[in-house]
Structure formats: C-alpha cells, structure tokens
C-alpha cells in the first residue's frame, strides 16, 4: 500500500516537480475563477436563482466573520471566504471518480496553514504597529512570552495536521473498505465524508478568523 507521505510527481516544470495534488489545485482554481467571472457578468437588483445562492453564501460568511472580528470584517472577507470555499471544494472533490483531494497530501494543508499564519502576523502588525504587536506577546505578564511564542507554532501546526489527518484518514478508510470488503460498502462512509469535509473547511476558516481577531488590537 502506497505511503500517504510520498507525493505523486506528474511532470517537471523546469527544476520544480509538479505533483498530482498541485495539478488538481490548479484545476480547482481555474474552475472557481471561471464560475466567479461568469456569475458576476449581469447583476440584478432583485437577485434570483444563481445570484441569490451566491449572495447567500457570501453574506453568511460575512456574518460569521463579523461575529468573531468585532469591527471591520469586510477587510478579511476575501481571505477567509477564499479559504473556506477552496477547502470545501478541495475536500469534496474526493468524491468525484478518478480525482483525489489535494488536501489529503501533507503539502496543501501546510500551504494553507502558512497562509493563515502570515495573515495573523499581517493583521497584528497592520492594526497595532510592529512594536505594539511584539509587545502583545508579553501582554498578561512577561512570564507568558515563551508560551505565546510556542503557541503560535503549535496552533498553526495543529491546523495543518487536523485538515490533513481528517482528509487522509477518510480517503484511506474508503479505499481499504473498497478493496477488502465490497463494492457499495463505502457509500455510508462517503456520506460521512461530505459532512466531515464541510465541517473541516468551516473549522479551518473559523480558527483562522479567531487567531486573526486575537492578534488585532483590543479597542473595545
């Protein structure tokens, strides 16, 4: 059985090996850009159909962000919304025959966790200034300084491992059941996989929002 830690290289782009997960990610990006461009061509004041569905999605994400980040939530709507939509689609694409979720290899969740990590620093520095943000690491007392520094690393690591572990273990389980037990046996597990995919996308986005809100100034 192939190890889940070995990437499946498809071709080389100069000196850089392009793996299967990267190709699927490019496909998802292309699909999202095309759908977004096609949806935004004709706007009507009284939306119906597809425009109403998309507006419902965006407004719901905006409200969820607004309840965590009190204040200017529109600033982070593109980032958190993109994270949520991309992770949800990347997890769910596992159910299509012939395709495999890019989040089930370690590199894609690592990249997404790095995006969340740097956006936390960006939010903190842009709202408190560099020195104010650095001072906030020692905020309750200076004793907490090593703990807050360590927690930055461990919570980013845990975001990556949570997404990777859930997706990879779901994929593993379904493939093992398929090979060793029977043909239609994994179907309830695939239904559970739909729930877990959306839940993990939501948890990733909400955790990124909570960390960003914690790094910004406490102006309340």
């Amino acid at each position: 059985m192939e190890s889940p830690f070995i990437p499946h290289v498809m071709f080389m782009l100069g000196p850089v090996p392009i793996s299967y997960a990267v190709v699927v990610t490019w496909g998802i990006m292309l699909g999202l850009v095309v759908v977004a461009w096609l949806s935004c061509r004709h706007f009507s004041t009284f939306p119906e159909g597809w425009q109403a569905a998309i507006e419902l999605l965006i407004v719901t994400i905006d409200e969820q962000i607004g309840e965590v980040i009190q204040g200017n939530s529109k600033r982070f709507l593109p980032l958190i919304g993109s994270l949520f939509i991309f992770i949800a689609i990347a997890n769910l694409i596992d159910l299509l025959p012939g395709l495999s979720a890019p989040t089930s290899v370690l590199e894609t969740p690592a990249a997404l966790a790095m995006i969340a990590y740097f956006s936390v620093h960006y939010a903190g520095i842009s709202s408190q200034g560099l020195w104010g943000y650095l001072k906030s690491y020692a905020k309750p007392s200076v004793i907490m300084l090593p703990f807050t520094l360590l927690s930055q690393i461990t919570r980013t690591f845990s975001m990556m491992v949570r997404l990777f572990g859930n997706m990879m273990s779901g994929q593993f389980l379904i493939s093992i059941l398929l090979v060793f037990v029977g043909f239609l046996v994994p179907v309830p597990l695939m239904a559970l996989h739909v729930l877990i995919s959306l839940l993990q996308a939501y948890i990733f986005a909400i955790l990124a929002t909570v960390f960003i809100a914690a790094a910004m100034a406490d102006t309340s």
Binding site: E67, R162, L199, I203
Partner: protein
C-alpha cells in the same frame, strides 16, 4: 521480535489509546453545550460556533496520535 512487528503493535496501541481521551472530552463538551443551548435557545449561534472551535482543539491530540502511528508505519526512520 523484529523492529517491524514492534512498530505495527506500537502503531495500533498508539491509535487506540489516543482515541479514548478526546472521545470522552468531546462527549462532555457537547453535553454541556446542549445544556447551554437548552437554557438560552437564542444564543445557539455563538454557542455552536464556540463548541466547534473547542471540539477542533480537543480533536488535535487524537490527530497527533494518528500522525505518530502513520509515521511508525510508513515513514519509520529506523527501518531501511
């Protein structure tokens, strides 16, 4: 007793031991969240959101055990 056999047994023990604690804690957390929602149904939104964030935190230790088991099975540095 080869290193491979010990790794397999260790991986199985790691995952089984690592699943007990988080499962009990998550059950307790969901039960208390249910009580809170039953007392204040209008606060169900923030309560559910906090519950999910807390569950994600609790789940992390179980996933750490899974990662160790996978490393033992597939990326074992002591087996060539």
């Amino acid at each position: 007793m080869d290193l491979e056999y010990i790794s397999i047994i260790a991986a199985a023990l790691t995952v089984s031991a690592g699943a007990v604690g988080p499962a009990l804690s998550e059950g307790y957390a969901v039960a208390r969240a249910m009580e809170a929602i039953a007392r204040q149904p209008e606060a169900a939104g923030p309560l559910a959101r906090t519950l999910f964030v807390g569950l994600a935190m609790i789940e992390t230790t179980a996933i750490y055990c899974l990662v160790v088991a996978l490393l033992l099975l597939y990326a074992n540095p002591f087996i060539k």
